[in-house]
Structures are given as structure tokens and as C-alpha cells.
Amino acid sequence: MSGAVNVRRLFLGRSVWVWYLLLVGPVALGAFDTRLMTPLALPGYVALTIGSAFGSYLFPTLELWVFWGPLLVGAYFVSVALAAASHAVRETFVAFK
């Protein structure tokens, strides 16, 4: 039961969505209105530009907005990894108390 809860927390926990918002929010704002573009959007901006660059060579008939799809999905998995890493770091510090 506890294991199931941990798996749920690993993939859907609050920290996953916090990381997801941090990764996607700034880049989405910047794309919506360039005046809202900030350095916080840099990771998403770089990922979207490089990803769409590869994508446009592999699938030249697709419009560039399509590559937001892989970014949004990819950002989720990165968020899971970041949440797990931040959890591990927190646990480590607790262990040293």
C-alpha cells in the first residue's frame, strides 16, 4: 500500500507539478506575449527551439507549433526526475540531522 502511494507521489505528487509549472509556465508565457519572456523561460525556450529544429528536418511538412507537444510531454518526465532528485536531496539532509 505504501509502495503504491510512493509510486503515485513519484509520478503525480505536488512537487512534480511544481517543477512542471516552473519548466512550462515561463516559456508558455513568453510565447503568448514576448514582453513576458524572462530568463526563467530559457530551459523551455532552448528545448523547444532545438527540438523543433530537429523535428522540422525530420518532418518538414509539420507546422512548428506541433513541436509544443513533445515539449509538454517531455517536460513532464523531466519534472518527475527533478521531483525525485529534489526528494532524494531532502531525504539526505534529513538523514544527516
Binding site: T34, R35, T38, L42, Y45, T49, S52, S56, P60, L64
Partner: protein, 258 residues
């Protein structure tokens, strides 16, 4: 410090640009100096702005492709300028049919493939546009466009490029304008959006600015701003900033600007 300065400049430019954009929304009501192809579906206005003293003549063209809104919106704003010296000729909406359709192509295909060097332009509209060039004999011609993606990154895209002709100082000016924009307009955290100078246009393709190079041997530029990641108003402001800087290098400045 430099970053802060850049950010404040960018903010000020964009804020000013937004104000201009709002003001520019009424520009349609400005009367053109004359119209080409009147009483036809291609009818479109030409705006001639004369300075208070003699100087060079520049021509700005927008709307060759009807779905490239930032080109004709930027040109429409420039059409409202008063210039300090010289003469500014603006044809903001070159291809009315394509603009009405919101399509790249107009009634007879891609207008920017109808200007062969050494020959008459291929269609009535292309001949009328070239007629404006011949009538005013400009020292420099700017053609404002929009691209889908960024040159070198996205397949078949030419965004964030300034393509100069192989005449006069065009190539050097294109390089300096790109540097100016990258320093003061494009945020440092949008590195892929930095403007770059393209290869020189030499008249080898049937495009308006190629013909300026091939037939007139004059400076000319194709300006391409990407729609990738840029909202519509920002595209217009960046496109206009490129045009403003290039015109300034050729001695044409908006009255009151330095």
C-alpha cells in the same frame, strides 16, 4: 548592468512600439500620395514623405506576400512617418489580393518571383511595383517579410535574417544593423532569435530586391522576422526596428528621432 540596460531598452522599445501599434491602427485612414492600378482589385496606395531638406531617397515595400502581416503592418507604420531629410517612399500593401486572402500568393502566384533581372516584370502588378521603383529612383530599397521559423534551425525557413544586395555598403550595414538589434532589442535569453546577415543578393533570382541589385546596382535588403515564438506585435516592432536602423544608415530618419 549591461543586461539591465538591455532589458530596460527592450522594454521601452516594446512599450513604445505597442503605443505606435495602437496609434498605427488608424493608419489606413491616411491618404496615400497616389495609387497604383486604380480601380482594379490590385489597387494600393503609395506614400511619399519628403523631408525639409535634400537627401537620399529610400523605398520600403511590405505585403508582397499576403500572409506576412508583420511586413505590411511595419511598413504601414513607417508610411506615417515625417522624415527630416530626403524622401521616403512606402508601398505598405503591395499585394492587396493576397492580403485580402491572407495567403502568400496573390492572383498570379508568388509576386516575389515575378521580377527577373534584365527583363520586364512578369505580371501587371509586378510591373506597376517596378514602375514605382523607376519613378522614384530610390537609393535604397527595403522589402519587409515574415518567415515561419529561424534560418539554419528550421527547415526551409529564413527568419531573423537581413539579406543585403551586393551593392554599396549594404552588406556592412546589414551586419551592423543585426548587431544593433541583437544588442538592444533581442533579449539575451533568446539567443536563437538574434538577427544575422544573409548572403548577398546579386540579381540571380526573380525577386524584387534581387532586381534592385541586378538592374540598378543599388543597396537593398530583404528583412525576414520569424513568427516562431514571437507574438504578432513583437514581430511588427522588431521588423520596424530593423527597417528603422537600416533607413537611418542610409540617411533617412523619422523627424524628431535621433
Amino acid at each position: 548592468m549591461r543586461r539591465r540596460s538591455l532589458l530596460s531598452k527592450t522594454g521601452a522599445l516594446l512599450a513604445g512600439g505597442m503605443a505606435m501599434s495602437v496609434a498605427g491602427s488608424g493608419r489606413e485612414s491616411l491618404d496615400p500620395s497616389y495609387r497604383i492600378l486604380p480601380d482594379t482589385k490590385y489597387e494600393t496606395g503609395v506614400f511619399v514623405r519628403e523631408g525639409t531638406s535634400d537627401g537620399p531617397t529610400a523605398m520600403v515595400v511590405g505585403g508582397i506576400h499576403g500572409d506576412e502581416q508583420c511586413g505590411y503592418r511595419a511598413a504601414s507604420e513607417i508610411a506615417g512617418w515625417q522624415v527630416g531629410r530626403g524622401k521616403l517612399v512606402v508601398l505598405p500593401k503591395a499585394n492587396r489580393v493576397a492580403i485580402r486572402r491572407d495567403r502568400r500568393e496573390g492572383a498570379h502566384g508568388d509576386l516575389n518571383r515575378q521580377f527577373p533581372t534584365g527583363e520586364k516584370p512578369e505580371t501587371r502588378l509586378a510591373r506597376a511595383i517596378w514602375g514605382v521603383v523607376e519613378r522614384h529612383n530610390p537609393d535604397v530599397v527595403l522589402d519587409l517579410h515574415r518567415s515561419v521559423g529561424i534560418y539554419g534551425y528550421h527547415e526551409s525557413s529564413v527568419g531573423q535574417m537581413i539579406w543585403p544586395t551586393d551593392a554599396g555598403n549594404a552588406s556592412e550595414y546589414a551586419k551592423r544593423t543585426a548587431e544593433e538589434l541583437n544588442g538592444n532589442v533581442v533579449p539575451w535569453y533568446m539567443p536563437f532569435h538574434e538577427y544575422r546577415r544573409g548572403g548577398e543578393l546579386d540579381g540571380s533570382r526573380p525577386m524584387l530586391v534581387h532586381k534592385v541589385a541586378g538592374d540598378l546596382d543599388r543597396p537593398g535588403y530583404i528583412v525576414e522576422t520569424t513568427e516562431f515564438f514571437l507574438d504578432a506585435d513583437t514581430r511588427v516592432q522588431w521588423e520596424k526596428a530593423v527597417a528603422t536602423d537600416l533607413l537611418s544608415r542610409h540617411g533617412i530618419e523619422q523627424r524628431g528621432n535621433r
